[in-house]
Amino acid sequence: MPAFETLLSPVILFFVLGALAAAARSDLSVPEPLAKSLSLYLMAAIGLKGGVQVSQAGFTPQLLQVSAAGMALSFALPLMAFALLRGFARLDRLNAGAVAAHYGSVSIVTFVTASDALTRSGIAPAGYMVAVMALMETPAVITGLLLARGSGTLSRGQRGKLLREVLLNGSVVLLLGSFLIGLAIGKTRFEPIAPVFVTGFTGLLCLFLLDMGLIAMRRLRESRALNWRMAALGIALPLVNGAIGLGVAALLGLDPGTGAALAMLAASASYIAVPAAVRLALPDADPGIYLSMSLAVTFPFNILLGIPLVIQLAPLVLT
């Protein structure tokens, strides 16, 4: 029962503990600088590990293929999301575009938790998936913006800022930078820092997910803007996007672990980098909608059900 196994992992249980504490209105809380520090740590750690793995496995044409596919997904996934958000959830153009940008992008924590679970299930994803994730983070913002406002409505200054956001966003830089460092140093020189970045990883992830449980549930409790149609899409979109991701993985002939990771990237929605970019570029869109959908609905769904599901399905679909 690998799915059940996943739910009994301490990482998930700390997420549940946080969510229950917030639901019961406990005053438990994680200091904001700790939350930010842990997220920097997680990004550096997975970047490094991915780079070291690629330094051993070598560059393969597959790496380029998957990177291209990932970026294409990030650009394209907002399109269908937009249609569903307009048609089913009845959002206006502006908010639909804003939400779509989040679902085209990725959630780093979802990816990290999925990698951890996949590795424990014996199907570790390829190291280069970290780089793919970094590449998938921001293209969706462009599609989302064009959907929300139509092309040509961006001033030159705004376009510059958007491009900077896409290319130089802190998490993109840290993920790709750590990946390149891992690539450059290789396994031997990684050893002295492995205790912090490998041995400590799962334990620190527990603390981070405790906080994410608190934050996601508080968001859910306070989200006035969320109606059942949006909540339903917050569950449907990861299923649809995840299925598309799995399909692309099958087309590319990926192994189960790597394919499952791509599926989870497609299924996940950003709630850190994209909200900040969208708040700036689409100030009239309602953060209450896009943050609640991605953080309070899709994120817990992926952690609790999406990951076990993909662990079950990937080995069947990808062989």
């Binding site: 904001e32 906080d211 934050i215 508080r218 909200p275 900040a276 970019a277 100030p283 209450g288 943050l291």
Partner: protein
């Protein structure tokens, strides 16, 4: 006795991601100098928020001392965006030393 001058202080509560934009607007209104104060939590028409690192759009407090004309110019510039950006603005008279600076 040390001479003081009456100037304006303008405090603007603004979403953290919009801070750079506001600083640019202020600079365009010739209010180049400013300070940014942290804000911990709040409650407004759009609900409650708390700076927990993620999951919310955190706020900052932009504070500038300047003269009447420049503050008026800044308000003029901000006018079209005050509603959509949810700015909370307070302007008041203060006495400052070294009035020529502001």
């Amino acid at each position: 006795m040390i001479t003081t001058h009456t100037r304006k202080r303008i405090d603007i509560l603004i979403d953290a991601p919009l801070c750079d934009w506001l600083i640019e607007q202020a600079a365009a209104a010739e209010i180049v100098h400013h300070s940014i104060l942290p804000v911990e939590s709040g409650l407004g028409r759009t609900g409650a928020w708390r700076d927990e690192g993620f999951g919310t759009v955190a706020k900052r407090m932009f504070v500038a001392l300047s003269n009447k004309q420049k503050v008026a110019a800044l308000l003029e510039r901000l006018a079209p965006d005050i509603e959509r950006y949810g700015l909370v603005i307070a302007v008041y008279d203060v006495e400052v030393v070294r009035g020529e600076r502001f």
